[in-house]
């Protein structure tokens, strides 16, 4: 039908990657990584969509309704949890780096440069 959802996912991935590469601030790099990760939500939800189908919740619609794929939606849930934990861990490392080097610029991480 349309390539637009996938194109948007590819765009999010690349924009996020650009953010990681071009960051002069570690917090910005971590947030850019979450942009990269959000492209995976779009890909997963895009794959599982069936045109004209409803959300896989049969609380007030008949069970025989045309429903979208629930498997990818569960994977997105896992994805979100992982993103939250990875972000928390990375930000903790950023706090460590700031304590140690007194700067948030990745170029100032002296151990990496040596």
């Amino acid at each position: 039908m349309s390539f637009l959802p996938y194109a948007a996912a590819a765009w999010l991935f690349l924009v996020g990657l650009w953010g990681v590469v071009s960051s002069t601030n570690l917090v910005r790099a971590v947030l850019s990584l979450t942009v990269v990760q959000s492209s995976t939500y779009l890909v997963l939800l895009g794959i599982g969509f069936r045109s004209g189908a409803k959300a896989p919740v049969v609380a007030d619609i008949p069970q025989s309704s045309r429903l979208v794929d629930p498997v990818v939606q569960v994977l997105v849930l896992t994805d979100v949890v992982i993103e939250a934990t990875v972000t928390a861990l990375l930000l903790a490392l950023v706090v460590q780096a700031h304590k140690r080097f007194g700067s948030l610029d990745p170029a100032d991480l002296r151990i990496l440069r040596d």
Binding site: M1, S2, F3, L4, P5, Y6, A7, A9, A10, F13, L14, L17, W18, V21, S22, T24, V43, G46, I47, G48, F49, R50, S51, A55, P56, V57, V58, A59, Q63, L67, V68, D69, P70, V71, V72, Q73, V74, L77, T78, V80, V81, I82, A84, T85, V86, A88, L89, L91, A92, L93, V95, Q96, K99, A107
Partner: protein, 254 residues
Amino acid sequence: MTRRARLALFALAGPAFAAVLVIGLHGLPTFGDYHGVYGLLVNRIEPRLRHATDIVTALNFDIRAFDTLGEEFILFTSVSGVALLLRRLRVADEHAERSRGTEDHRFAGASAGVRMSSLLLIPLLIALGGYVVLHGALTPGGGFQGGVVMAAGPLAVLVAGRYLIMKHLAPEWLLEAADSAGAAGYVLMGVGGLIFTGVLLKNFLPLGTPGELLSAGMMPLNSIAVGLEVTGAFLLVWTEFLDQALITTGGEEG
């Protein structure tokens, strides 16, 4: 690598990667025309076999129950990791924090309007979070989603500029206990499945009437366990980070 070299490398590799990405994504099923078998099967059998009306939660706590176990422990481990990383830093500055018993930190100073709105938000957030957790098997939601909303409740105390009261209401030992009890509760229910049905994490409770609060077997209990863990985990992470911010202010002021 210098920043300029990084950018030059990206200028070369970025477009090439974009091309490969677009070619690869073209190989996926056309949008809106999905023919996966698993999803269709799950949509058909989960409401019938487990009496759950939210198929995503049913999948999460039934067919993918073992993956959810892993997911829970990923969360548990990474929260422990954050606490470990940040607490090591905190020890040296602990005395600076102790001497500051009054609310004069960088989060203080909310206006009366903000304080009033936060006061209204606290019960609403906790009630909404609890609702989302309990109705996980019925409507969109579940332990992970509701847990995050519930964790936002005590955070509203911080928005009101009363961080020390927030720490008093949700002390670290309580958050750690909630985090651990939630993770342990999920495991115990899994072991219950092993004992009563011979299969780890398999449902062993009566299924009830679809659409009722107490239905879908042990999914409401799973949801509560996960919700407890997520609430504790998120609040613990936030507390650790906010403590760092307090120390930083203390250091700047001398």
